[in-house]
Symmetry: C2
Subunit: 149 residues, 2 copies
DNA sequence: CGCAGTCTTTAGAGTTCTTCCAGATTGTTG
DNA sequence: CAACAATCTGGAAGAACTCTAAAGACTGCG
């Protein structure tokens, strides 16, 4: 669209950086994932985007690629609903809003949310990750009188 | 084992309280769920327990019952892994440890954990629930050499 | 009681999401 | 460019549910 080579180079470096062979499919998927702003996608979604972008790739390869990228630390998997995985291009520590109506997953902006006084992990274990999911539902009345919390 | 009637009465009242007809299956499952301490079970697990306890019940009924109990507020569903639901007999507000190795889900004791400065929900939405999952992994090597990032 | 109407259970089929498989293709190395 | 391992692919398989249709269980009423 605006660029043809430079960004290619960037994702190429990223693949090389984690030791994944830069195949046509992986490069294409990586561009879809990493060339824009941060995203939260499902495998089906990404597969659809790939096909729209004329990147021929099977769904199995999309799953393989998402899992490989996750193992390599380029993505992070977020579980919000039984039976559906989201892959997050933002791998830094952060938490999520989940819009139950639409199924959209969004980052909670800034450093708003803080988890305090985490108990220590039981003996023999250590904390691998803390996930906070704030589940949102559509507000009942649209334009109502103000409402005191 | 130790009691035969009294506890039956308790779960019976509980079913009546939420307007669910006290069938053999629902009573049996309710006893397994509510007569001991708080639990976090999957449908398959509970089905296995039911069979062991000589309660003949199909897996479909276990799913139906868990979903009905959840709708009725007797249980709460917790999602920790894509493709697997846990049902929690503790319906009060609390958070969880998830032991990734064993697949066990446990309550975080006391009021240890606090989520602070939750951002306000985006317009048109309201917060339905906040889930915190602390993922634990088996502690690797106890004393390893330090490692610079 | 005895039957009707309604709710519940069930086996098995269907769905959805994801992984596996085995043969074909591609990327890399020399 | 040949050789070989890594990768890709469509379709089959798997896992976790959900639905369907028919049989069975409760309940209220006569
Ligand atoms: Mn995965
Ligand atoms: Mn459910
Ligand atoms: Zn995110
Ligand atoms: Zn719990």
């Amino acid at each position: 669209m605006m660029t043809a080579n430079r960004p290619y180079k960037l994702v190429l470096d990223r693949l090389n950086g984690v030791g994944l062979r830069p195949t046509r499919q992986r490069l294409g998927l990586a561009r879809l994932l990493f060339e824009g702003c941060d995203r939260h996608v499902t495998a089906e979604q990404l597969h659809g985007e790939a096909l729209s972008a004329d990147l021929r790739v099977s769904l199995a390869t999309v799953y393989n690629t998402l899992n490989q990228f996750t193992e390599a630390g380029l993505l992070r998997e977020v579980v919000v609903e039984a039976g559906k995985s989201y892959f997050d291009t933002n791998t830094s520590e952060h938490h999520h809003f989940f819009l139950e109506n639409t199924g959209r997953l969004e980052d909670i902006p800034g450093d708003h949310l803080v988890v305090q006084s985490l108990p220590k992990a039981p003996v023999g274990t250590r904390i691998a990750r803390v996930d906070v999911i704030v589940r949102l539902v559509e507000d009942a009345s649209p334009a109502t009188a103000p409402f005191c919390d």
